[in-house]
């Protein structure tokens, strides 16, 4: 497939890196140095120019493109890029936008602006946060097969009941598969005797119920409805609060600006809006921050989010989730005490990458910036799995593959050695990045 990406920022770069392995990729950016630097890191064709200019698009052979991805930092530029491209190509266009207002417009009509798929960064970040909030201790949560199968990543803490147990001892759940253990930079495919050490991240695939049970097992002192504080009433904060209240939770939202706080209070009926500076200790103590289970820092400034998150934890909040705008700081934030750092750009890049996969994976989750992927695959006649017990087909698959769950006609089938996979099944697999190409061709 030939993919043209406009914008070589964090999002565009991440998408280019994911796709260049298996597709032809051209990247357009107004900044020539950026394009050139990317060309040496990744196997792409770099073009310096303005993506909203037809000449530039034609230089990138846009008429031959299968997919056009507009991923600059500017909403209007992305929209105009797609509209411009539409005049000369039938490529599938994907546009990144920050603000949800364009998304609403786009949802009103088929192919508005000439865009086939729109990804709203802020909404995506809010959705990611909301998913993580739903599971105590979770680092990352993704849904597959229309919510029938869930994947989650948990960090094993010192105090966790499963710390220092073997996988065999910890695995007491009917429909749950331990897909992988991430230890420092290594991806370990767990065997029965693998020990879960404190500090490991474990990836599990299974039914939402069993994952929920497992999550509570990890953090036994979480029960009932979590007490949530969202800090920052920007686009991300608003959507997070909205998604949480839709789930019946009653979040509190802190916003410093008087008019904006008023606006939010009118828009969010199930949320308590508080007007204050969230870095004010007295205010936090007054609001019983020590009872808060999760604090979500969604201000429009990374440093402030870090401060709010750390301060809240210092004063007794259970977990802190912070929005980080610069992808490079994600690990650093999690290093110094933020439990989960959510990077809207990374989430956007992953979302767009999903859309451009060649195999029939309908859904992809990218683990820890591309160390591994979790894929949902519909089984066809060509698959090595079809009509054989899993025990037999495992020999034909590369080492870094774990079959997590099988969904058949809307019900979950637990994969065991003697399970026979049938055509039409949806299989959720964990694949290490090195085995990806081989695995996806065989499944």
């Amino acid at each position: 497939m030939y993919v043209v990406i406009v914008g070589a920022g964090e999002v565009g770069t991440a998408i280019a890196e994911s796709l260049a392995e298996t597709h032809n990729v051209a990247v357009i950016d107004i900044d020539g140095n950026r394009v050139e630097a990317l060309m040496y890191d990744t196997d792409i064709l770099g073009i310096e120019g303005d993506g909203t200019d037809l000449d530039t698009l034609e230089e990138a052979d846009i008429e031959d493109a299968d997919i056009l991805i507009a991923s600059t930092d500017d909403d209007e530029t992305n929209i105009v890029t797609c509209s411009t491209a539409m005049t000369v190509t039938d490529a599938f266009t994907i546009s990144r936008v920050k603000s949800a207002k364009f998304l609403r417009t786009w949802q009103q009509s088929e192919r508005a602006f000439g865009i086939d798929h729109m990804v709203a960064t802020n909404l995506l970040a809010a959705e990611t946060i909301a998913r993580i909030v739903g599971l105590p201790a979770a680092q990352d949560v993704e849904m597959f097969v229309d919510g029938l199968v869930q994947m989650a990543e948990f960090e094993i803490s010192e105090s966790s009941p499963v710390a220092n147990l073997t996988v065999e001892e910890a695995d007491r759940y009917e429909s749950l598969t331990f897909a992988a253990v991430l230890r420092e930079d290594a991806v370990i495919i767990p065997r029965g005797e693998t020990v879960l050490e404190p500090g490991d991240d474990v990836i599990v695939i299974g039914s939402p119920d069993s994952i929920h049970t497992f999550a509570h097992e990890l953090e036994p002192d979480t029960d009932g409805t979590p007490n949530i504080l969202v800090v920052g009433g920007g686009d991300i904060g608003y959507h997070t609060a909205r998604l949480l209240q839709e789930r019946g939770l009653k979040p509190r939202l802190v916003e410093q600006d008087h008019d904006r706080a008023r606006e939010l209070a009118e828009a969010l009926s199930g949320t308590t809006v508080l007007e204050s500076d969230a870095t004010d200790r007295e205010f936090l103590e007054r609001e019983h921050i020590d009872d808060v289970d999760i604090v979500i820092a969604a201000l429009d400034n990374d440093e402030k989010n870090l401060l709010v998150g750390l301060l809240a934890k210092r004063l007794g909040a259970e977990r802190a989730v912070a929005v980080v705008d610069s992808g490079g700081y994600v690990d650093l934030f999690e290093e110094v005490g933020i439990d989960v750092a959510v990077n809207p750009r990374e989430a956007t890049a992953e979302e767009i990458t999903r859309f451009t996969r060649e195999y029939q994976a309908e859904n992809v989750a990218i683990i820890e910036s591309d160390r591994a992927e979790v894929l949902e695959i519909e089984i066809t006649e060509e698959s090595v799995l079809v009509d054989r017990p899993i025990r037999e087909s495992v020999a034909d698959l590369p080492d870094g593959v774990v079959i997590g769950s099988i969904a058949r006609n809307g019900t979950l089938v637990i994969p065991r050695g003697d399970t026979v996979v049938e055509r039409g099944d949806h299989v959720v697999v964990f694949v290490e990045i090195d085995s990806l190409e081989e695995a996806s061709s065989k499944l």
């Binding site: 030939y2 260049a20 032809n24 990729v25 051209a26 020539g32 060309m39 040496y40 196997d43 792409i44 064709l45 770099g46």
Partner: protein
């Protein structure tokens, strides 16, 4: 980021190149079997290449080259290939009168081959003295080096494509990397395909001429042998008289293919896409063809009016229209883009003509061609940048970007080109002095023009110089120290200086 350069990775990857060099040696082995000569020589050489390659590969089982490792690798790979490529010369020369039995000479011949220089230290070039297989190996080294061994690796080895852009940029001539397609391996394959296509076409025409009775000496062996050295702007020939050994018809065929070899191969991609306008609009191509045409006319004037003395050997007879035009065209085309073939001993043409040819040698081929030298595009930019300098002296407030065919040249690129050109001239100057000193040390008679041409012809990967190292002479008389210096000059000339020089800086080895 590693604090230091991980040289083990670079060396291990160099092992891979050396290992595959054994595959290239199958060609002379096949010729050897055909003619029943030197089979053992190449069996041994293949064994040595494989053993050395595998040994080096053991240093790192999965080299992942970073930017600096890639640079180091390219420099090392060319050094290693030249060393291993010299093995057949030494083995074949063992116990014979061949001048290549001495390792320094063999290394010189090998480096001269791979870098497509075409300077030789063979005492006598003839198929009586050396086997068909060995002389074909000498030709083949130039063909492999022409489009580039690294480019070839990126084209065929998936593991080399990972940072192929970095690798190709270090090897391919010219100031900037040009990617034709999104995938670097595909770009490399395309370049080699054009190269292979032109080579095949050329060989076919030569063989056709032979069977049409217009080229009695151009048998299949010679056609293939010259096919291996024309497109890479190499200049080696299994004939002592170079192209003078063949009929005028052959000489007229060689000329256009020499011209093609000095063009940017990326431009042919435009032709494939039927974009003739864009092809003809390329400023470098215009300048390259213009420089050729201008110098041909001037030299033809000299030869036609008899300013250059007539020669015994395929010489120019005053006033002979076709002959003088052919000689002028051939020699300019051959020296300007660094091929180094000759149809007559231009070393006897008198100082005016030689001065003109020396000037041509400074120009070089196009960026992205197989030619050597400074490259046309760099001279274009330097000239334009100097013109701007003069203009802004008169108009201090003027802002004048340097344009090349409608595109603005980045100031950073201009600085890099200035730096390269200066470094090139400085290296050339220092090398000339060193060669003269070295000759004085051993009491070798040498004129300044000879030393100048030796330094320029090796650094610019041209081959023949003037005087005793003219097109029918050889570099044999130089002392071993000078030959090693020239091996170094050919090496840095082919890689455009920077990748090799950077290895001698402390900054490269330490963070």
């Amino acid at each position: 980021m590693a604090v230091r350069v991980n040289w083990r990775q670079s060396v291990a990857f160099t092992g891979t190149v050396v290992k595959y060099l054994a595959v290239a040696m199958l060609v002379p082995l096949a010729i050897g079997l055909l003619y029943g000569e030197d089979v053992v020589v190449f069996l041994f050489s293949i064994g040595i290449a494989v053993v050395i390659g595998l040994a080096l590969e053991r240093l790192d089982d999965d080299p992942q080259l970073g930017a600096r490792e890639a640079l180091l690798f390219v420099a090392l790979a060319w050094g290693a290939v030249a060393l291993v490529g010299a093995v057949p010369y030494v083995i074949a020369g063992y116990g014979t009168e061949s001048t290549l039995r001495y390792p320094v000479n063999a290394l010189f011949e090998s480096m001269s081959g791979f870098t497509t220089t075409g300077a030789t230290v063979l005492g006598a070039i003839s198929l009586e003295r050396h086997s068909h297989a060995l002389l074909m190996w000498r030709q083949l080294t130039q063909w492999l080096g022409g489009m580039g061994i690294i480019v070839l690796m990126v084209a065929i080895l998936p593991e080399a494509a990972v940072n192929g852009a970095q690798l190709i940029e270090s090897e391919a001539p010219g100031p900037e990397l040009q990617k034709l397609t999104p995938k670097i391996a595909e770009t490399a394959r395309l370049l080699w395909l054009f190269y292979l296509g032109f080579t095949a076409l050329y060989v076919a025409i030569l063989i056709g001429l032979h069977y049409a009775g217009m080229a009695p000496n151009m048998d299949v062996y010679n056609a293939v042998a010259h096919g291996f050295t024309t497109l890479p702007t190499g200049g080696f020939s299994p004939q002592a008289d170079s192209i003078a050994a063949f009929s005028p018809a052959v000489q007229w065929v060689v000329i256009p293919f020499m011209l093609i070899a000095g063009m940017n191969f990326a431009l042919f991609y435009l032709l494939v896409q039927d974009d003739y306008v864009e092809f003809l609009r390329d400023r470098e191509l215009q300048a390259y063809l213009g420089a050729n045409a201008g110098m041909i006319v001037i030299l033809w004037g000299f030869l036609f009016t008899g300013s250059a003395p007539p020669l015994e050997l395929g010489g120019v007879t005053e006033g002979a229209l076709e002959n003088s035009l052919r000689q002028a065209t051939f020699q300019v085309a051959s020296l300007l883009n660094s091929t180094g073939y000759a149809t007559s001993d231009f070393a006897q043409w008198g100082t005016t003509a030689q001065g003109l040819l020396l000037f041509a040698m400074f120009i070089g081929g196009s960026a992205g061609s197989t030619g050597g030298g400074v490259k046309v595009v760099r001279w274009l930019v330097v000239i334009k940048a100097i013109r701007r300098q003069l203009f802004t002296t008169a108009h201090p407030n003027a802002i004048k970007p340097v344009r090349l065919g409608g595109h603005v040249v980045d100031e950073e690129v201009i600085r890099a080109i200035y730096g390269f050109t200066l470094l090139y001239l400085l290296t050339f100057g220092v090398a000339t002095v060193l060669i003269l000193l070295d000759a004085g040390r051993v009491g070798l008679e040498m004129t300044t023009l000879e030393a100048v041409s030796a330094s320029l012809a090796t650094l610019g990967n041209i081959g023949p110089g003037f005087g005793f190292l003219g097109p029918f002479g050889s570099y044999l008389d130089f002392p071993a120290t000078s030959k090693l210096l020239m091996v170094f000059l050919m090496w840095i000339g082919r890689l455009e200086i920077i990748p090799v020089f950077v290895m001698f800086t402390g900054a490269f080895w330490n963070e």
